[in-house]
Symmetry: D2
Subunit: 242 residues, 4 copies
């Protein structure tokens, strides 16, 4: 059994509610956080709207004077310190929340940076996603969150997302207590538990290996030196047999 006690995980709750205690997504994030904490991972669950984040494709909006305050740089430092990142979003109209896109935009503003090996900044880290809503949209949201993270350098493990939604139509959200129901809504959903479990463990397994290996080898993937290795330009696009 590998040791996970040197790993750090950051879970960002991209709820659009200012009051963290009102977020349903937080509850499923807490389950994933709990699994990782049980293995000794240093876990932080952060409610993005507890902070004041500027809009813009900028690293720090106070530097160009566009805003007097911007809490993003502190969050970015936490992201850079973490081996594992989990983005959590509610679903509205089948889509990920504005706050989730705000987080992606701000992370993307740093994506031109390089790690010490010359790879994109987020190489060597792994990411997953948690999505909840009252109905419809888990996969559509996860798809965008995970693609964005892979695009900037994260490794995506197998079965990297989990979520809960109810049957088509308005209705309660994850963890709501409804009269006449034994249990808070969704707390008897084994599919959600299973996916949350698999995601959380696969994030730890993948982070463990990436950390032990010191990230990815550098051949062919250094952002500014890719053409020094065997590369696509030199291949024959008409070749049909291999």
């Amino acid at each position: 059994m590998p040791d996970y006690t040197d790993l750090k995980a950051l879970l960002l709750n991209c709820s659009i509610k200012y009051d963290a205690s009102q977020s349903h997504t937080r509850r499923l994030l807490a389950r994933s956080a709990g699994i990782m904490a049980s293995q000794g991972v240093d876990v932080e669950l952060l409610h993005v709207l507890d902070h004041e984040i500027a809009f813009g494709m900028v690293k720090d909006a106070t530097e160009d004077g566009s805003r007097a305050r911007d809490d993003w740089p502190a969050i970015q430092r936490k992201i850079m310190d973490a081996d594992i990142l989990v983005l959590g979003t509610p679903i509205w109209l089948g889509m990920k929340a504005s706050v989730a896109m705000l987080v992606i935009e701000r992370m993307y503003a740093y994506s031109g940076d390089r790690n010490e090996k010359g790879q994109y900044l987020y190489y060597g880290k792994t990411a997953g996603s948690v999505v909840t809503g009252n109905e419809d949209g888990v996969k559509a949201c996860s798809m965008e969150l995970l693609y964005a993270m892979a695009h900037i350098g994260y490794t995506i493990p197998p079965q990297p997302d989990c979520g809960w939604i109810g049957e088509a139509g308005p209705g309660p959200s994850y963890g709501d207590v409804i009269e006449g129901r034994d249990m808070p809504i969704g707390y008897d959903n084994d599919f959600t538990f299973k996916n949350c479990t698999i995601m959380s463990w696969n994030l730890m397994h993948t982070a463990r290996r990436l950390k032990d290996a010191g990230g990815l080898p550098t051949t062919g993937n250094r952002a500014d030196h890719w053409s020094e290795d065997v590369n696509a330009r030199d291949q024959d696009p008409e070749r049909t047999t291999f």
Copy 2:
């Protein structure tokens, strides 16, 4: 430098053209295939419409008698033999091709199967995507292809996709020869070369490690035994500090 000569890669061209030689996507797939072949990977580039594939969420459409012929099972065997899978699709109306979805459906029909460790069937493999069009849609298509593969068990490496599209509007496709232009269309696009290079190498790096490690550890991710490990059901969804 790791040795990649024991790896197998399968590239599936999901063009909607029956004649493989007319496919533009094939050209970018060939570049990725070329990189991998240069490292001794056993590479196959397969044109899906050279085969007759049945529709349906079935493993073999001849078994239930719905079709007299179904070439899918032979392709599925190639997929299972390969360490690396690359799905290539053209873009139509901003979306991935019907043939790409057909491939996903047929792979998904096997997803209830388990590997020898009790994990979902495609664990221990890695996948990427190649997308071309005359304009608009690389990311929207990649997102769906990669999400589908991650969902059924593939590991997705950093920067797992590449593509080429031209400026907004009708126009030539990847590799088209246009009078007055020095070079076939897109063959001077460094961004496409770079992404194709990074994707191809990261697939090899990731496949190498997965193969060396014998896939993923089994804690928490066995499809039918996830609840025997520390799991989401047992965590406190109201926990706020970790």
Copy 3:
């Protein structure tokens, strides 16, 4: 109350099952068809896989000899005869079915054609979508179907889609009969009934008006003559006050 008896509606079931009777999506399509038929609309519900449709961005695959048989042109004639088109798709892995994309591709192959006014071919018609699955994806599928139809010239009425999905996880599909349940699955879902009702009526209302008005006026939207009217090229992109 307007008269709808001169309208025609075509509902295309893009199930991936060859046997129409096994399709769950058909059941919700039948409800929409029923509403329209009750108002005297000439309705046809067609199961796409009852036909043999070629792949390709071609009007008729037998013309270039790529296929010996292609049933598409007959379906295209029905589409052109209909005032209302409803595309129905099941959800697989959160995405629309391959058959739905095949239909879009084949319709798109005619999109360069013009109507008698010089507008794109599908002007003056209206479209909606019906989506079912056991869980997750109605909006993601509808979004693609409706966008594709709007893009080629259909008018999209308010609330143009309906669907049914169950709670997160595997489970029964629309209309499945389950022991211990009073009613087939989803047949007590008012949200699905409401959306199906609104969609069906709004399609009729919109088709009625488009037909009465002879489609859309031609100013500014003739495919090959748009620049003869006041147009975007002649506007000042730096203008800030209006």
Copy 4:
């Protein structure tokens, strides 16, 4: 030729730049606005980040005390006054901007309201979308914007979107002035001009008709009374012939 002088159009620029003058999307929005203004439409082009908008599924964030300031209600009044709404967004990582989703969320918060006929609030209005980026994503963004608007009651005309993107890879954005190029980037793109022209005119045509007709007839689409008309619940889901 219809008279459009009694129509109002609101164009919301969902750029993530605080300084409107730095937005590229604004330039294409201005072209659409110009076309409509030339016909006497009362046009307003509003830069969303000139205002301070709260997050949340709330009508006015000052009412529950979650924020001291919330400029949304004033924007909502403009939306309700307008016959035509155009949402403009830049593309980041292939996706619509956070600000665009923020706008959708805030509009959605009012969607439970009814118009004077008992239909959803936004009935009788029409919407389009304008998307720009340096590369890739126009359709993916438009799809989400238009679906959201249709879902809450807007009618979507044929060819309801336009955009500009360059060839795959980093590069200039719409209207950028580049040394050695005759013209600002994209200002020679006829496809973009054509789509912007068609969209703008079709919005006017559609708004004209909706206004003249007093919105949509009410049969079957009153939010709380749909079941008083012929409806989906009463149809036979097993009916196969019509």
